[in-house]
Symmetry: C2
Amino acid sequence: MPGPGEFELIREYFSSRFQTEGQPNSGAQGYANQSVVLGIGDDCALLNPPTGKILATSVDTLVADVHFPASADPFRIGSRALRVNLSDLAAMNAEPLWFTLALTLPESSPDWLEPFARGLAATAHAYGITLIGGDTTKGPLSITIQVTGACDAPLRRDGASAGDRIFVSNTLGAGAAALPIVLGEIDGSLAQQQQQQQQSEAAYYFPEPQFAVARAIGEYASAALDISDGLLGDLGHICEASGLGAELDLERLPIAPLAQSVKGERALETALTGGDDYQLCFTIPEQHLSALGALQLPITAIGRMTAESGVRCRLHGVGWQPSGTSFQHF
Amino acid sequence: MPGPGEFELIREYFSSRFQTEGQPNSGAQGYANQSVVLGIGDDCALLNPPTGKILATSVDTLVADVHFPASADPFRIGSRALRVNLSDLAAMNAEPLWFTLALTLPESSPDWLEPFARGLAATAHAYGITLIGGDTTKGPLSITIQVTGACDAPLRRDGASAGDRIFVSNTLGAGAAALPIVLGEIDGSLAQQQQQQQQSEAAYYFPEPQFAVARAIGEYASAALDISDGLLGDLGHICEASGLGAELDLERLPIAPLAQSVKGERALETALTGGDDYQLCFTIPEQHLSALGALQLPITAIGRMTAESGVRCRLHGVGWQPSGTSFQHF
């Protein structure tokens, strides 16, 4: 039996679902968002952006068997695809508004589309973002999502000064520790491994965009980004954009329990260079440290920005050189 | 020799090129567009949308060997990828502002990237649109572009009334006639065929977004879209969105010379059901016909909207049924 045609597919799995459910409140045409004038179904979506705000927009592609196993649960793929994009909005301290979905599929299969759309809708609902349009094409499985949000004072990479303290949110290394387990390269048949399996799938498919931390640090931070390619590489981007360097005290690094249980002796290196954590790395000028401390946020100071360029690592005061580097696609 | 890494790739072929050339004038950071606060290089691009305008946004994916031959000249692929997206802005009567590029590549090859970026930049320059960000990933060759524009009074699909006259811009059928030649399914070794080859490559890789026609009809048209999937199917979308039907007088159809020379007796059907033309189809209320006629636009009246649903075709007054239907991906 052939799958549904392109237009029926869009209507069945996306237009109707996203207009009637998965949204916190209703705007024009049943859409969540008052800024959406016209959603799915015309040549373009039409939008009335919030007055006086700056728009922030980011696009990410997830390719099957590069960014997720092609055989993975489509619900989880839908969740991860939107969450990794939302993380970029959080990193700018932007509130989610709307997103588009460009979906390339080898075939139009309801068995895949239904749970994928459900995973996407559940995530959109949780973060208050509205699907406004997209494109479906036939080809190797690939998902491109572009998110747009609004902000008053965006957290850019280029605002750090020498002496600013460097922080990260929550813990690091879970994403990279999860990857070989999610890919099935490590067997999950024993009891301890089953627990690792569950933790890995949660870390990999349901990363939490750090909107709450971003809002809280918004008035204090001088620079910020999300750690998608590994702390060392991403902190390097803040250094480069701000024309500075950094020194890290590695004994302070908040290592994820999953990284410790899976990676053992290499947990520190995993936390330092592994990707896929989607935690925030940000810099705070000295004078804001006490005000920030009073907020009791799940954040850890791990070093400081320096006038000297390059990122230098110390472990208990001794210079330390990682064997790996951050993830690059090519 | 390995190709450049991901970050070097972005810098080399996109950030630097689009900041220093291919743009009609300079704004923030050397970008064309005053609305661009921050372009390529942070978690998000930052945008200051024009006050009092509605934003129009559209996304399209081009998959290698589905939408273009993988071996095609990368300059031409870059041209087509942006032009088909710009056509969606033109169809809403929106002026181009900015776009993103999500590029999936099997390998990071300067021989491919350099001409691709050049084709993209030349097109961006010609239409005054600014590259603000994107994503590069490793995988099967695929190009997803999202364009955003601004408009005062968008041309939607759902505004037609029964009795409105149906028009198309320029000629139809060239895109569909070009396809087998572009794909190399028809040999171009003879003199007549060489001419067809040149015309086909121009039609396929350099379609002209109809901004000038859209601007001219903006105050008169009740509905509009661009013909990407074939006139019959796309007119069906206006009918469905407006809750109406249509009747077409096929002898009025402006058939592209290329469709006539390549398709012969099937030229009419090609013009009616073939895709990839990116001409406008729009509806004009009776009372605006004389004002529109005075503008001497390259447009042709081909029928009228009806209260009765469905699209009915007549050829010299006799009912006519095409054997094919519009293109669908699945």
